[in-house]
Subunit: 406 residues, 2 copies
């Protein structure tokens, strides 16, 4: 059965100017792929009529589905419906359903209907509509020359609502994509090049493999129609690198941590300095984390380390806040104070300032404390501030996972 | 002087499958625009020879600069150099400088040079090289038919290093783009449609305006060569909406907060429940925040609210953890315990579970406490978990900013 080829078009000058990060395309790519669709093109386009039209025209010839995000608002730079109509050779008309939806919503919000809002409900004649519970603009779509093109709002939670609740099932019913199997293996501390050499020896028929070298991990992602073939080759790697193999997952390290804590009834908490809340935020991203995550102390200043984590002032005076001794004391303090089974502390120098010859930017100490023992790890990371914080977060969660599993 | 048109190509199947979020394109878009280059196309392409080649060929005809990220690694799916060579009609050869750089680096890391690494240093003959302090792959570029095409690694901090330290100056010297002026106005609580109607009355010659409706704010971004024209129209909006106008900035709300605290010598801290560390992380993203941010208590469980923030158990029993009373107590507790001038608390229901008819998903209380007063705000937010957390974070920072300014 042939692939159902999808293109994603993110419309909006703010994306190409960089002031807004496009997360919609990534979301659509993940969720289309999950259901067996193949995403082969993702493009960002400025709010320019010709550019949008040319993009649509180019993509019609090579894709079964085009999904667009953005450009459905009431302002002068919202052009999607107009260009959609031109591209699909339809007239625009004031859509009754869209008008009612808009009018109800604006009435509730106490906003007067303006020229822009009237323009916002001029949609291509005869298009399919997809309800938007969270916003003014409905999604809309139509078939043109064998391609189904649908347009969604650019606001992420509105787009996700429409996609999850209406559009994806519509597309599945229409195209009946072949079920693809996914298997992700997560390895710690294994260079990409080593797994690459193994993969070159595989005789794959129906399976593709994508390698994702992350900050502290390597993901080997198997995709294909033949689950037996996937399992066969996945097993080869798992058996070959048992010490490095952390688990199967399509999810984040944070979810692995939350799942294992829920399974084993462990509670956790953090004492964060240089990561400044990132570890806590990443864990609490996971719905259900409140079952196992009790809280954290973000001890950005030394005073808070002393007052809230019971780190001795003499210790900080002697060894410094960025030291294995301080990480050890922070983790032990957090475990007692938060009353958790496992506490993780992170103290380091994220940069760009603050480094010395002795303690350079990127020096990070991570400690994991349980009632059995407290272990401290020293990392010397390279990169910019954000990268050092993200890597510290990932390493901290990996070390926690390893500690719980062993 | 004509525009210097840039296209950005992010290469990597993992991007179109969605397992990795492309932040490189956004970074390049921001930083090219900042220097006067005009980004008109951003594309993601899978690791497929034909697709990459077709993309390059399409973009050559319409762009002055093409920047690619990704595909420079040592594995079987790293194809950029090979396709770059075909597209620019050059041979590949083992590059001496690249080889030495790779060999030195791998020796330091104790990694054996494999076939993949040798392939990694086969670069187009005669290309320009751009040093990579943080990784194995050097950046490389060349001119072809009037277009300058350069390829950078996909690992974000490696790409940023090369771009910031070598490539951007190279491009500025070569193309001498005309300096563009930027002015961003940030408004709180102003609907997009209202500003849109004002903008429709402007007679702009050399200025473009981009509207960014955010979670709790509206950014009006002026861009153009004529600073007088920009100032004239910016002033019209500032004078028309003085209560809503928060400030000028190209930066985040977090940076506005850090700046104003540094200027006025205020210290801050947070008591976070549903945001789980996000507010703290966003503030500590800003280099220099350690001057003003002392720390936070992430009180995800009620026990931590009671033990670490001195919220009375009887208060939680009576009103619940998601209540204005609890937010008030959390903020006051945090201010005393962390010893800061301003404390902000956030307690709410981020969802998707946990809501009731009485207290639905999206109900969030935010309190700002200073020695003068403690004020509590009730928000009823719509959206998914991430969106509610992000919006709560933004609203909390805005309210803090308003409190400090008034």
């Amino acid at each position: 059965m042939k692939q159902v080829k999808c293109a994603i078009v993110a419309i909006g000058s703010e994306l190409l100017e960089g002031s807004v990060l496009d997360t919609n395309s990534n979301y659509l790519a993940v969720n289309l792929s999950k259901h067996g669709f193949t995403v082969t093109d993702v493009r960002m386009v400025i709010d320019d009529k010709n550019k949008i039209l040319n993009t649509f025209n180019e993509l019609f010839t090579t894709h079964d589905i085009i999904l667009t995000t953005g450009g459905l608002g009431p302002t002068f730079d919202d052009l999607t419906a107009e260009i959609f109509a031109i591209a699909t050779k339809r007239e625009l008309e004031q859509n009754v359903t869209a008008y009612k939806h808009m009018a109800d919503r604006l009435t509730q919000l106490g906003v007067t209907i303006g020229k822009g809002h009237l323009r916002q409900v001029e949609l291509p004649v005869g298009c399919d509509l997809f309800d938007n519970k969270f916003g003014t603009a409905l999604g809309f779509g139509t078939e043109y020359n064998g391609t189904y093109i649908a347009s969604l709002p650019g606001v992420p939670f509105e787009m996700k609502y429409i996609f999850e609740n209406h559009l994806i099932q519509f597309l599945i019913d229409r195209f009946k994509p072949e079920k693809i199997h996914f298997k992700d293996l997560i390895f710690a501390s294994l260079p990409e090049s080593i797994i690459d050499e193994d993969i070159r020896t595989f005789e794959l028929v129906d399976t593709t493999i994508i390698l994702n070298a992350g900050k502290a991990q390597l993901k080997v992602k198997f995709r294909g129609k033949d689950l037996c073939e996937i399992d066969k080759y996945a097993k080869i790697l798992v058996d070959k690198y048992p010490k490095n193999f952390l688990g199967y997952d399509t999810d984040s390290i944070a979810k692995l941590v939350v799942d294992i804590c829920r399974t084993n009834n462990h509670t956790i908490g953090f004492a964060e300095s240089c990561t400044g809340g990132m570890v806590s935020q990443v864990i609490t991203d996971i719905s259900g984390s409140s079952n196992i995550f009790m809280g954290s102390i973000i001890s950005y200043s030394n005073q808070v380390k002393i007052n809230q984590l019971n780190v001795a002032k003499t210790l900080i005076d002697k060894y410094g806040a960025v030291s294995s001794e301080c990480a050890d004391a922070m983790a032990k303090g957090a475990r007692e104070i938060l009353g958790v089974d496992y506490a993780v502390s992170i103290t380091g120098i994220a940069g760009p300032t603050g480094g010395t010859d002795d303690k350079p930017v990127g020096l990070v100490y991570i400690a994991i404390s349980s009632d059995k023992k407290t272990v401290v790890f020293e990392e010397r990371l390279k990169g910019d501030r954000e990268s050092i914080r993200v890597r510290s977060t990932n390493i901290a969660l990996f070390k926690l996972l390893e500690a719980i599993k062993n």
